[in-house]
Symmetry: C2
Subunit: 369 residues, 2 copies
Amino acid sequence: MNASRSPVRQSSVRAHNLALVLQTVANSADRPSRAAISAATGLTRATVSALVDDLIAGRLLTELDPAPRTGAGRPAAGLALNPDGPGGLGLEINVDYLAACVVDLTGVVRHRFVTRADQRLLPAAAALADLGVLAARAREAAAADGIELAGAALAVPGLVTAGGLVPVAPNLGWQDVDVPALLDLGLPLTVDNEANLAAIGELRTDGGAPTFLYVSGEIGIGAGIVLNGELYRGGRGWSGEIGHVTVYPDGRPCRCGASGCLEQYAGQEAVAADPDLAAAALGIALSAVVNLLDLGVIVLGGGYAPEFDRLRDGIEAELRRRVLTAGLAPVTLRAATLGPDAAMRGAADVVITGVREDPARWLARAQAV
Amino acid sequence: MNASRSPVRQSSVRAHNLALVLQTVANSADRPSRAAISAATGLTRATVSALVDDLIAGRLLTELDPAPRTGAGRPAAGLALNPDGPGGLGLEINVDYLAACVVDLTGVVRHRFVTRADQRLLPAAAALADLGVLAARAREAAAADGIELAGAALAVPGLVTAGGLVPVAPNLGWQDVDVPALLDLGLPLTVDNEANLAAIGELRTDGGAPTFLYVSGEIGIGAGIVLNGELYRGGRGWSGEIGHVTVYPDGRPCRCGASGCLEQYAGQEAVAADPDLAAAALGIALSAVVNLLDLGVIVLGGGYAPEFDRLRDGIEAELRRRVLTAGLAPVTLRAATLGPDAAMRGAADVVITGVREDPARWLARAQAV
DNA sequence: AGGATTTGTTTATTGGTTGAATTATTTGAC
DNA sequence: GTCAAATAATTCAACCAATAAACAAATCCT
């Protein structure tokens, strides 16, 4: 119904095809030739050549030495994402540290800065000012490498609304913080929940499943829901609050006012106190998620990752028992591969994914400058 | 990442714009003129004229008498969806009846056939053969009105995989039924879960929220999840199994092998036996869904609709208590507006939505014939 | 009756893809 | 050592679809 509600699309065919070519290069293991791209996309070799010219001129692609190939014929020129093209600035603010990283277009982390300090002692404005300093340093480092930043994204451990407002971030002690107003980097800024961005980080590393749940166990418990390769943020951006899913209706009282929330049985302290209880509670809650969303993969991150071996059996037992379709297709449980950097990495990924998905906008901007 | 993985799009600009124009007409309360469509879409009047000509030639739009308007200027010709254009065949098989309906392009039910009979007594092949007879009758009735059917969709109370296979439909006693193989109507056939299609039916009636949960309480309990105007089917098409979400971990044993499933506390018998218990259990399970997916609207359908007034307070009490963001934005609970026909209507809607979203395909087909 | 106004069509132009022909660069055979 | 075959990439005329601007049609207002 509202699928193609977009204004119009006249000759933005080119924008689409630029993205198609760029993504084809990005998703290729080897360095594809123009002819290979033509075959993969269905576009004419002529068209691919023209598009590639634009992408090279805009510093998004580079031509490499002859790609390894056998047989007769003129050797192809290999194409790859330009590591000196536009990069992404990933930012994170958490209870006891600030962090920033620069990721280039190919997905490689080029610079990484961390400041350890308890952010709960500072007002939001001061914390964000400190983060601004860190961001400036990262930007200089990027500039020294010849990398221009296409934008920035910030991971926050709290609820985030569409405009980058944070109504509440309990563990930071924030309330109604207008992040974009307090953190002006002169770059497009995206603000999102920490678990959401960590999920995106995992999506990028895991070549496999495009549909999975990322569960982050810290003091609270958050989850990022990735459906068909895209993060689902919910109607108001407040999805993934798995920590307050009811596990034992008449159980322990929770600081949210309800009782029996998962957080009381599988939060950081609860895991330390009784891993078996935590695993069972997690298994019950995760079974509910799988029954609802039909997910095939669950990734345990944050504080759960180091405890994975101790939790696995208990969780899987509940999944086998409570997931209706467990007999038809198993649910895969795995630990997150990115460590504590997941959210920051995911944030940077959001920026470069933006460039990859709409190169035409970047080209227009780069040309205007 | 995989957003624009589509093969190519050369001059399928036209396909997109045809859809845009058609949807603009469909979503207009009044019968818009070509000029009004031009203003709404941003396309030129000339372009709109050309597109409208194609749509009229393909019997998707009709030109009406002058639309009511005031002021100077040449009077406009009103445009509207053609009620004699392609229609959709909606089918449903359930425990104690078979049903078929013909819905025209404007969304009006033109014909409706129901056969009451216990389907549990028949093997799947026989039940589908009976349904085929009903479908043929519906098709004749449509032809008598000058309506050609663009396709058919079937609602089944069970799990459905991508290819239309039904691995299991417990209440019908089906197992591994290949529906498309047993029901050849000579039309493109879509098979989907009953709750999913009912949710689509509600989406069409409710002009409002494009993100909601539809819960259908029959013997079992199913749910259709509509996110941003689109049904979410899950990785394997098995989403929405809310009936087996755990409510009381150590509670009543369920026929699925687990214990404490929602179905045991809010299934048809349980509602009749103790509405308050059912409401509390529903409230707990629905709170989990809202915490996970950040839904603003929940629609109670199927057997819940007539019991709505008796369930409402109990459910809302739990939602207020257990939904983390309840204080920030309320969750709206309402009864389904379509009755028992919801799934069948939704099925037919799927077909006509397909035509509305891709009119170019229909035009090509119509021209080829 | 005549100007104003709005609708819808016609015509030349432009952006972008296609397909065929052409050029470029290698391998392999005689 | 030269030539044919093969593959890669570019050039160029043709075509499709949208745009902008001019034009025709049909009404209202004075």
